[in-house]
């Protein structure tokens, strides 16, 4: 029933999505990938908060792994992960795993890192995904196909061992309850000259989602696996299920086993470290389970020492992973760079100031002449709008307090925000979202009016339908001439037609116009796709179109005041008190 095939996984490139962040474990996955010769990391992204990228090493260099806010966002950006590595807390585990498989129906499996997931949460996962997916855990360190897939901390996080695991494979499968012990077993097997076909820590909780037998079944079905090494513990009945399967010849490959937990107390049932490690009845003791396995021909070792030494007689067939890199793990003296930035030279050769600005802020090596021309007009229109506005006032007052250009201009810039000059980005956000969702303009207006909010980019203190803003007219004329399909502008105009019916000054203002037209220029002339545009909105790009020219205006106000120099500014009483 289990759809996973170890053999198939060796022939495909698997992609992993991580939920929760644990840089050290994720790094160990990248080190494994690099050693195995992959072109790029198997980890396609991390779902976590507070950042957009996670910097990690890729070989001796560095790589930025995308960080997403939600699993839905991962899908929207076009990724199709095959596996989930969930490192979130036990209480949010069910939701994460369930969401992942709901969104990515064809994904193959997962590893749940958390220990102490509620029993009913684990059972619900078994009910929904127990037959169709391969899920290692709750608890443990995940699973690994040497040279192909490392899902979790399995194999550890230490250098050389991971490099070895990434580049060499063999024919022994390791199926183990414990995260710590799976590593011990894997490296003992390798140390004694054999190799691993695949390994899993199915977890020490009471209800592992994929059961030990299901993992052993995968080993049985894998042509590369010749022998199976099994480590179990007291507690639970997994070994009886396994011995039934061996008796029925569903499992025919040789199994070498150790069942830990021989200490027995006459007085009471002892709970050992793992949640499952308690023998509730006589048949759950290590001894009883060892007996059951022996009866069906499993070689069960009496001491752990004998178990370890038996690895010497495992098959010695090991092969180098095709394309594996000869790579000695980077030394600890190599440190990640303090931050990541693109190279300055990429944007250094522009034909004009405006083009240079655009290349720099759009991170492009060339920009269309239409966009340059439009931006040039935007900049010209926005350089200054008189000394009345908050940014100019701040600059003037600071200048008159005797401060330098940098300080005075900075105080002006500091006033730019949602209320002053900072509406372009918000307006762009509203236009972009509405157009991409096909929201009718009337519906948008109704929504804002219901919430008693202003639509960003609509309304002006000075201009109205009778007295139009000349800057807006200039920009619209230019845009309509250059663009084939100014859909955001048309939408914004439609919205303004509705709002101006309600109140005469609720017209499309200069911020709303620039926001709309810029969206059109970027998609039509610069070939930006929706996700790129959404990112520009998210990082607040559009306000640059105001801050850049207006900084010049503030410099103008600074120089004006320096020339005139009326001394320190102070309000008179009548400016502040009514009486």
């Amino acid at each position: 029933m289990n759809t996973l095939s170890i053999a198939d996984l060796r022939n495909t490139t698997s992609q992993i999505l991580v939920t929760g962040n644990h840089a050290r474990i994720i790094q160990s996955i990248l080190d494994f990938d690099y050693a195995s010769g992959k072109e790029k990391p198997s980890v396609i992204g991390i779902v976590a908060g507070g950042r957009k990228t996670q910097k990690l090493f890729w070989g001796d260099g560095e790589v930025l792994i995308p960080v997403f806010e939600t699993i839905v966002e991962v899908k929207n950006k076009g990724f199709k992960p095959d596996f989930l590595f969930n490192i979130t807390s036990a209480s949010s585990t069910f939701l994460m795993v369930d969401t992942f498989f709901t969104i990515f129906e064809n994904a193959k499996g997962a590893h749940i890192f958390a220990e102490g997931v509620a029993e009913r949460d684990a059972l619900a996962l078994i009910e929904k995904y127990g037959e169709s997916k391969s899920i290692a855990g709750p608890s443990g360190v995940g699973f690994c196909i040497p040279g192909h897939l490392k899902l979790g901390a399995i194999g550890g996080v230490l250098g050389e061992r991971i490099a070895e695991l990434g580049s060499s494979q063999g024919s022994t499968a390791v199926v183990c309850s414990s995260g710590g012990m799976v590593n011990e077993l894997m490296y003992q097997i390798v140390a004694q000259g054999s190799g691993i076909s695949f390994a899993v820590a199915f977890g020490g909780d009471r209800f592992p989602v994929t059961s030990p037998l299901q993992w052993i079944q995968l080993a049985q079905n894998d042509p590369q696996t010749k022998e199976i090494v099994y480590f179990g513990e007291l507690g639970g009945r997994d070994e009886y299920v396994l011995s039934e399967a061996i008796k029925d010849k569903r499992i025919t490959k040789p199994v070498y086993a150790y069942i830990a937990g021989r200490f027995e107390s006459k007085d009471e049932k002892i709970q050992f470290g793992h949640a499952k490690a308690l023998a509730k009845s006589e048949d759950e003791t290590a001894q009883a389970k060892m007996k059951a396995l022996r009866e069906v021909g499993v070689i069960v070792y009496e001491t752990f020492r004998d178990f370890m030494s038996s690895f010497a007689s495992l098959s010695k067939e090991t092969t180098k992973v095709e394309g594996a890199r000869e790579w000695k793990l980077r030394g600890s003296q190599i440190r990640a760079t303090a931050f990541t930035a693109p190279k300055y030279e990429t944007f250094a050769h522009a034909n004009s100031f405006t083009e240079g600005i655009l290349m720099r802020i759009l991170q492009k090596s060339s920009v269309s002449h239409e966009t340059v021309a439009f931006t040039d007009t935007v900049f010209s229109e926005l350089i200054d709008h008189g000394p009345h506005v908050s940014g100019a006032v701040n600059t003037i007052i600071t200048t008159r307090a005797g401060r330098d250009m940098g300080s005075a201009v900075a105080t002006g810039i500091l006033t730019i925000g949602d209320r002053f000059g900072g509406a372009i980005n918000n307006a762009a956000k509203v236009w972009q979202e509405s157009v991409s969702r096909d929201t009718p303009p009337s519906e948008l207006v109704a929504l804002y009016s219901k919430n008693r909010e202003y639509i960003p980019g609509i309304g002006h203190k000075k201009y109205n339908i009778y007295k139009s803003d000349p800057r807006v007219a200039t920009l619209i004329a230019m845009g309509k001439k250059a663009l084939n399909n100014p859909k955001h502008l048309l939408f914004a105009e439609e919205v303004a037609r509705e709002t101006s019916k309600k109140k005469e000054n609720l017209i499309l203002n200069v911020d709303g116009t620039i926001g709309a037209l810029y969206l059109d220029y970027l998609s039509e002339k610069e070939m930006f796709h929706v996700e790129q545009i959404k990112e520009l909105i998210e990082i607040g790009f559009f306000n640059a179109l105001f801050i850049i020219p207006r900084t010049t205006g503030f410099i103008g106000h600074f120089l004006d005041q320096k020339r005139i120099d009326e001394g320190l500014f102070r309000f008179s009483d009548s400016d502040i008190y009514e009486y």
């Binding site: 050290r24 474990i25 036990a90 209480s91 220990e115 102490g116 997931v117 509620a118 029993e119 009913r120 949460d121 059972l123 619900a124 078994i126 009910e127 608890s139 360190v141 901390a153 550890g156 996080v157 230490l158 183990c176 309850s177 414990s178 995260g179 710590g180 012990m181 590593n183 011990e184 490296y187 003992q188 020490g204 909780d205 009471r206 209800f207 059961s211 480590f231 513990e233 007291l234 830990a260 937990g261 021989r262 200490f263 107390s265 002892i270 709970q271 050992f272 470290g273 793992h274 949640a275 499952k276 490690a277 308690l278 009496e302 001491t303 752990f304 020492r305 004998d306 178990f307 370890m308």
Partner: protein, 384 residues
């Protein structure tokens, strides 16, 4: 931890609700509770701290009248227990006692039922009926099969509501069609214990009995790491300090295999990267347990696998911090220290410990991961 028991009172109150009339008392609350009892009624008073087979051990009193309740309770508390439950006596014939248990398992809920319930249940193994309520019905509350005289759907629903993993009612009787649970034992899923009503919290049975176990329990409650201590033989010779769920079992097996089963003082496991301070406090508690043992030979065995993330230097520094407070005692009691451990920063950690032990003339055998975990029994045995 996994499943934890709750008191009989809490079990019955959660499952039976308002219809349950039992009263729970501690030494301080007996007097105040007296108004709840009636004259001319007979009560049963039982120790209620999760102990089974109380009748055989003399931990309950039958046919107690209201006036005798305070005296009877004091007697029982004086045996060293903290809580009693008091219920009205229900007269019945032993032959009417029935047994039922429901255990949450991988494939669903396993129900065991016996028409011969009561204290002799284990002797009547052959009459136990066993059947399964499938997993989807247990999880998603679909109709469940009926069992004569047992409110099975209600029990399953309460198990779901209060995160119960196991429930055993032995015995129960049915009198005039009314289901009456005479004794009840419930285990809840520790992962969801915090979701239960506040009053239940002090009815969760703590496994810690000794002072040291209680100390470690407290240390565990306030850290994100996992710290455990179980005293097995307080006068044994070997103090264990293990890390990792699987590795700790293998190390225990090593001691058992070397014939040292009866010499093991404790089972201790720490994992989940405790800090240096947390390890220090934890190791301190364990050392006191070692010093209190009457044994003339003493060995500390620090063992674990190759850690994934636990920093060996940090945790070993915590252990050294604890040992440095007891140098004289360690020397005086001729304590031998054996170690097998690996993981991040292992060289630094092992060297730190080795240097400390050498400089204070404390005999030791310190090994890294090249030494097999299966050999720790032999490592210790030569010093016992």
């Amino acid at each position: 931890m996994a499943r934890v028991a709750i008191t009989e009172y809490a079990a019955k109150k959660l499952v039976l609700g308002e219809s349950y009339m039992g009263v729970t008392v501690t030494r301080g609350t007996v007097k105040g509770a007296l108004t709840l009892f009636k004259e001319q009624t007979h009560y049963i008073v039982k120790i209620d701290v999760g102990i089974k087979k109380r009748g055989k051990q003399g931990l309950l009193r039958l046919n107690v009248e209201k006036s005798a309740i305070p005296k009877v309770c004091t007697e029982l508390f004086d045996l060293g227990y903290e809580r009693c439950v008091i219920e009205e006596m229900v007269s019945h014939e032993t032959q009417d006692e029935r047994y039922i248990s429901i255990d949450l398992q991988r494939d669903g809920a396993q129900v065991l039922y016996s028409s011969k319930g009561g204290v002799e249940i284990e002797e009547n193994h052959d009459v136990i009926e066993r059947f399964f309520v499938p997993r989807d019905e247990v999880l998603f509350g679909m109709p469940t099969p009926s069992l004569e005289n047992v409110p099975l759907p209600l029990l399953l629903q309460k198990m779901q509501e209060f995160h119960m993993s196991f429930i055993e009612i032995n015995p129960f009787i049915t009198k005039n069609g009314l289901f009456t649970a005479l004794d009840m034992a419930v285990e809840i899923d520790d992962a969801k214990a915090h979701k239960l009503p506040i009053w239940v919290q002090e009815h969760i049975i703590k496994k810690a009995n000794s002072v040291a176990e209680k100390e470690v329990q407290h240390q565990d409650d306030v850290t994100s790491a996992a710290l455990t201590l179980k005293i097995l033989n307080k006068n044994g010779s070997i103090l264990t300090l293990f890390s990792g769920g699987g590795a700790s079992l293998v190390a225990m097996d090593g001691l058992v295999g070397a014939g040292l089963q009866d010499q093991i003082i404790n089972y201790s496991e720490y994992s989940g990267a405790p800090t240096r301070d947390e390890t220090h406090t934890y190791a301190n508690t364990l050392l006191k347990v070692l010093f209190d043992s009457d044994s003339s030979k003493k060995v500390i065995l620090i063992a674990g696998g190759v850690a994934n993330f636990t920093d060996i230097m940090l945790t070993f520094a915590g252990i050294v911090d604890a040992c440095s407070e007891h140098i004289a005692k360690l020397q005086e009691q001729k304590v031998y220290v054996c170690i097998r451990r690996g993981g991040p920063n292992q060289e630094k950690g092992l060297t730190h410990l080795r240097t400390f032990l050498s400089s204070h003339n404390i005999p030791h055998d310190v090994h890294g991961p090249e030494f097999s975990l299966g050999e720790v029994g032999a490592l210790v045995k030569v010093h016992i």
